[in-house]
């Protein structure tokens, strides 16, 4: 029963810290503090335009996505084709970004490598949102024993350091794009569950929900018609930031040689190739292109997430 829980408790930092793991409590509070509804915000400042940087960031993400989707159609050499006439070539007309020590085209490897990061990033978060978000939505509104159990479960799962758990599972289960995506998708379920649950909880006792309840609306209707539309901004914003986090974890795995098996390129293993065996002193481009692309991608996603958070009036806090 939602009435049993006082939102004010969730709001007050001290009480909350006393009850739950502090770090996660901060995440909860961050979400719950998204209090003002979109309609009644008459503050002109909240509606300031997104700005040039935001659209630039969207442009970069769009470009990377487009290139990755169209990789097979684009006039690119096979990313694994070894051109022995052009080993370690600097950027030139034939190889716009140059070639690596085996004569493979760096632009082609970069674009095919983007596929791994993007597929893992977006698919696993979509999976996590489907499971974790749905559970969080229901759990936050319904409360009761289900909520207590799911809540405790999410705390236990988040008690693992993600990277160690993922490496261990990869080690025992094996590495492929599918497996990595599933593992990371499962890994973000508890996180997205907490975010959506906290947001759902903050709306469960709002007047418009209570009004709907007194008018005899079914729980399903309330959850999907009244609460869901209000939770969506938070879910999108945090989902996006989680995508960045997952891309970082995949990149870390790939750098360590634990993501998709070689020679399939991914940005992480491209960076690792570019730094190993003295490649840094012979051909710095191998490392440079994926590093720049990754930096810009993460920066863009963070920027978009940040602007969305400002627009949706979600308080800045622990991310």
């Amino acid at each position: 029963m939602p009435d049993d829980r006082e939102l004010s408790d969730t709001r007050s930092g001290g009480r909350l810290l006393g009850d739950q793991v502090p770090g996660l409590a901060a995440v909860d509070e961050l979400v719950v503090s998204r209090q003002s509804e979109t309609l009644d915000s008459d503050d002109v400042l909240a509606r300031k335009p997104f700005g040039f940087l935001f659209w630039f960031a969207c442009g970069w993400v769009g470009l990377v996505v487009l290139a990755a989707v169209l990789a097979n159609v684009l006039p690119l050499p096979n990313p694994n084709f070894q051109n022995y006439n052009a080993l370690n070539a600097p950027p030139n007309m034939h190889h716009l970004l140059g070639t690596d020590d085996l004569g493979r085209d760096l632009l082609s490897r970069l674009i095919f490598g983007a596929r791994v990061s993007l597929v893992v990033g977006f698919v696993s978060v979509a999976f996590g949102m489907l499971i974790g978000g749905t559970l969080g939505l229901i759990s936050g509104y319904k409360g009761g024993r289900l909520d207590v159990a799911l809540n405790a479960g999410s705390f236990v799962l988040l008690a693992f350091p993600a990277i160690v758990a993922v490496i261990a599972i990869v080690a025992f289960w094996g590495q492929s794009l599918f497996k990595i995506t599933v593992i990371l998708g499962v890994a973000v379920v508890p996180l997205l569950f907490r975010v959506v649950r906290a947001s759902s909880l903050s709306f469960a006792n709002r007047d418009f929900v209570i009004a709907a309840r007194t008018m005899g609306a079914t729980s399903a209707r309330i959850v999907f018609r009244e609460i869901l539309p209000n939770v969506v901004p938070v879910a999108i914003t945090f989902g996006l930031i989680t995508v960045a986090g997952v891309i970082v974890i995949e990149g870390t795995l790939a750098f360590l040689g634990l993501s998709v098996a070689l020679p399939t390129p991914s940005w992480g293993n491209l960076i690792a190739e570019g730094t190993s065996n003295g490649a840094l002193s012979t051909n710095v481009y191998i490392m440079l292109w994926p590093v720049i692309s990754m930096f810009l991608l993460l920066l863009s996603i963070n920027l978009i997430g940040d602007r969305l958070r400002q627009r949706f009036d979600i308080r800045e806090g622990l991310l």
């Binding site: 001290g14 503050d43 002109v44 400042l45």
Partner: protein, 403 residues
């Protein structure tokens, strides 16, 4: 890098012998405070002048949004410097506070001029023991050492009625009840025996029963220590028996100002009257609705032309909407009001308003302008003129908030 509790820089200011010269302790002259915001400039305090004599109590009354809190902070000089425009002078004990630099101001704050905040829950540091919060100013301003300050703090806590202060001094604010917290706040404000205390809605967050206790405590300490108090409140009932003089504020301006007795007896300004009507009285028949003032305080970025209360005033005439009434006297020189058609014996002097019935109470009954016609009160049978003070005296203890 380490912060130290010591007064630094500048000469020590002298604050003696003001009272002997018969000069008021505080003289505020034409004070303006505006905030720059995204939408425009908010004129929160717009030309306020007032005086407070030593040992006296001034009540500042107004709805929320009338600028009374900004006024009290402007007088102290506590507002942050950014995006704030101030003009006018504040003379306190012979010194111009508005001309002081921050270092000098810090010698005045807490020592000669201190403040009691509205909500002791947020105004006390949640992670510092209350003892430390009291001894800080003792050590800073009076140069006491730790043990001396602690002993004094215990005495202070005892004097504000906190039982077993020796133990409580080690408590944190969240361990105390609301009333206790407000007592601690008073102890902090009075620690260095200031000459003037600004009490900003000191009882608003408290239970009604505790409100009276806190106000009585404040009055008692004021008598003992011969302090002046500025009591800022939205509740005329709170200041009715405790203030020597009352200032009524509306939309950043003073609209009526008089010694307490005069104000209640010879109310001139319809707004003051409306505030009085919003105090529930024991003599009201049961089931009666509380008298609310229809409408909202005006937007302080674009205040209305003419009298700022005119849009909500049942007696407003064309003149009221056209030009702004000056603050003027009639009869006794210490009674000021800003109204073109002041009330006389509770009856407006505006043309066509000779009937004695209260327009605030039974709106809609006597051809009232639509502005104040509140549909919910129209059907209620309210006896006429519940505000004729001669037969129904104000009950100051019924300090409920106006709805």
């Amino acid at each position: 890098m380490k912060a130290r509790l010591k007064r630094t820089g500048g000469d020590t200011l002298e604050f003696k012998d003001v009272g002997h010269r018969g000069e008021p302790l505080l003289v505020v002259d034409d004070l303006h405070t505006s905030f720059r915001t995204g939408r425009g400039t908010v004129r929160a305090v717009d030309g306020v002048s007032l005086t407070v004599d030593e040992g006296k109590t001034l009540g500042v009354v107004g709805e929320s949004g009338s600028g009374k809190t900004v006024l009290s902070r402007s007088i102290m000089g506590l507002l942050p410097p950014r995006d704030v425009i101030k003009s006018g002078t504040v003379r306190f004990a012979g010194h111009d506070l508005t001309a002081m630099d921050p270092v000098q101001l810090r010698q005045v704050w807490g020592a000669e001029l201190s403040m009691i905040f509205q909500d002791p829950m947020t105004a006390l540091n949640p992670v510092k023991r209350i003892g430390v919060q009291i001894t800080e100013s003792l050590r800073l301003h009076l140069g006491m050492d730790r043990s001396e300050a602690t002993a004094t703090a215990i005495e202070l806590l005892r004097s504000v009625g906190i039982p077993s202060p020796e133990q409580r001094i080690r408590w944190y604010p969240f361990q105390l009840s609301g009333g206790m917290r407000q007592r601690v706040m008073i102890a902090i404000a009075l620690a260095c025996s200031p000459r003037l205390v600004m009490a900003d809605e000191p009882t608003t967050g408290l239970d009604v029963t505790v409100q009276a206790q806190i106000l009585d405590l404040l009055a008692e300490l004021q008598r003992e220590r011969h302090m002046a108090v500025i009591l800022v409140t939205h509740d005329l009932g709170v200041v009715a028996t405790r203030a020597d003089d009352i200032v009524v504020m509306y939309a950043g301006r003073i609209v009526e100002q008089a010694p307490t007795k005069t104000l209640f007896k010879e109310t001139r300004m319809p707004y003051t009257q409306a505030l009085m009507d919003s105090i529930p009285r024991l003599s009201d028949p049961s089931g009666i609705r509380l008298h609310a003032i229809a409408g909202r305080p005006p937007d302080l970025i674009h205040p209305p032309k003419g009298c700022r209360f005119a849009p909500r005033c049942p007696y407003a005439q064309d003149k009221c909407h056209q030009s702004e009434p000056p603050l003027r006297t009639a009869g006794s020189p210490d009674h000021l009001f800003a109204c073109w058609f002041p009330l006389v014996n509770g009856v407006s002097t505006a043309p066509g308003m000779s009937s004695g019935s209260s327009v605030f109470g039974v709106s809609g009954g006597s051809g009232t302008p639509g502005e104040s016609a509140d549909a919910s009160t129209a059907s209620d049978q309210v006896p006429p003129a519940p505000w004729s003070l001669a037969d129904t005296p104000i009950d100051p203890d019924a300090g409920l908030e106006p709805s």
